[in-house]
Point group: C2
Chain length 314, copies 2
Amino acid sequence: MTPTLDDIHHAADRIRPYVHHTPVLKSESIDKLLKARIYFKCENFQKAGAFKSRGACNAVFSLTDEEVKNGVCTHSSGNHAQALSRAARLRGCKAFIVMPDNSSKVKIDAVNNYGGRIFFCKPNLKSREETLSEVQKKMGAVEIHPYNDYRIITAQGTAAMEFLEEIPEPDIMLVPVGGGGLLSGTALATRYLSPKTKVIAAEPAGADDAYRSFYEKRFIPSTDPDTIADGLLTSLGSLTYPIILQYVDQIIRVSEGSIMNAMMLVWERMKIIIEPSSAVPLAAIMENTAKFSGKRIGLIISGGNVDLRKLPWN
Amino acid sequence: MTPTLDDIHHAADRIRPYVHHTPVLKSESIDKLLKARIYFKCENFQKAGAFKSRGACNAVFSLTDEEVKNGVCTHSSGNHAQALSRAARLRGCKAFIVMPDNSSKVKIDAVNNYGGRIFFCKPNLKSREETLSEVQKKMGAVEIHPYNDYRIITAQGTAAMEFLEEIPEPDIMLVPVGGGGLLSGTALATRYLSPKTKVIAAEPAGADDAYRSFYEKRFIPSTDPDTIADGLLTSLGSLTYPIILQYVDQIIRVSEGSIMNAMMLVWERMKIIIEPSSAVPLAAIMENTAKFSGKRIGLIISGGNVDLRKLPWN
């Protein structure tokens, strides 16, 4: 059943001790350049560097002592892996993380730092799922999916809820879409709290499964995605897709060049570090200035975890 | 005559409409790593990306209409050039900036963006001074020195004043030293407002003229400085040096490797962009953990202007 506003409030209450209420920042120079009023909700300053800490904490702290006694597990090479490792440590349980054996050292180190125990697999979905299934059986751990889970969706919606309490009734809420956890949570929170606000998603053209699924009205999985926005490679889920179909107004695709330009613009003008996936919504504004001109826009910066030795412009 | 607390207050009042009251940030993970409580005063979020906007605005808005009618001028390739260009535009006068002809495109663009008019010179002090002298004569502009000017020193002290109002009586105020504008302003503000707080400066070992001048008690100019901290290349001034001698407790030298590591640590853990010069104080803590252990430290992040295509670790 579609999560209610109460569900989002419950998630917010549950995670409050464990996550940051992140700041909303503005940039006069970016506003001037793009002729819009953009409010950046900075989840790059979130614990473990991304909004994923919201969902991971909500899921882990929803479990009973009995349920967590053998730990939690997931397959992820990205921000969910770090967020789940951290949430498990806070809950006092183990986290088993299945990661592709070609994951970068910086991602492996991050999971290790948060105390997650890593199991390597081959870098394909089949191996990830098989390895996770083995780990789960062997350890008796509970799987926490990165997005296809209402506990995750409601908690990701708390970022938009915080935002709308601070900046009421923006014209547009603009977020990136990968698996759809942040997008579906944002869409629900916005419909409940600011029903006149349009919810728009931005997606790399090189990984446009959500765009096609949305407009063709049939589920199309992500195959061979090719984008620097490494947080947006996955397919929508069976729980996120229907919410997106019903509550999202539009999905915009953007080019790789625009993603890189948007990322550099934020680094240079705002002096904050955002990851490529977080630059995708701003890229959508930059590619469609007329559409966004004069609008008050809430833009969720999803995360700030970047391998500083491998920047897209180098 | 040494500026008084009133002078710093007057500077604060004068610049208030034109500069940001910048935030103080903390990082749990850096505190844990270094076993200290570090409060980062984030002048990287200052207008034009550095504390230099404080001094430039104070100097430019101290001038009479008659004095500014032919504009202001300086020689600088760095943050003072941008800050002065911006301050002049706000004051409605011209800024003439003498820059070495090997300045990076990103620095030239920044000055142009703020409306400064650039005059190129050869990349040595003699050519800079001669070109500035010519420009000054030809244009009738008023020179605004980047640091050897009480209007600049008092205004740079407003960053520490803001800090001490927010975080009273830290054990240590820790700032980088180049020409000494920020250091002398910080030292004065701290002595007036929090006399028990130690004032410590950090300097690259490859540009340690302030260190040597301080401990040998005779002025030693900066010759052939070699450091990635490109804001800290200059010599102390005749006004900054005596204040530093009298009011600073200690100067610590740091290695280039530590500067780079400190810069990466802040980028990775705090998700904010700081320039190499701003990483020098944190490098001093990292090289002297026992000394700083358990201390409450106010650390001024001087700026965030970095050429993203030329990062020190690439």
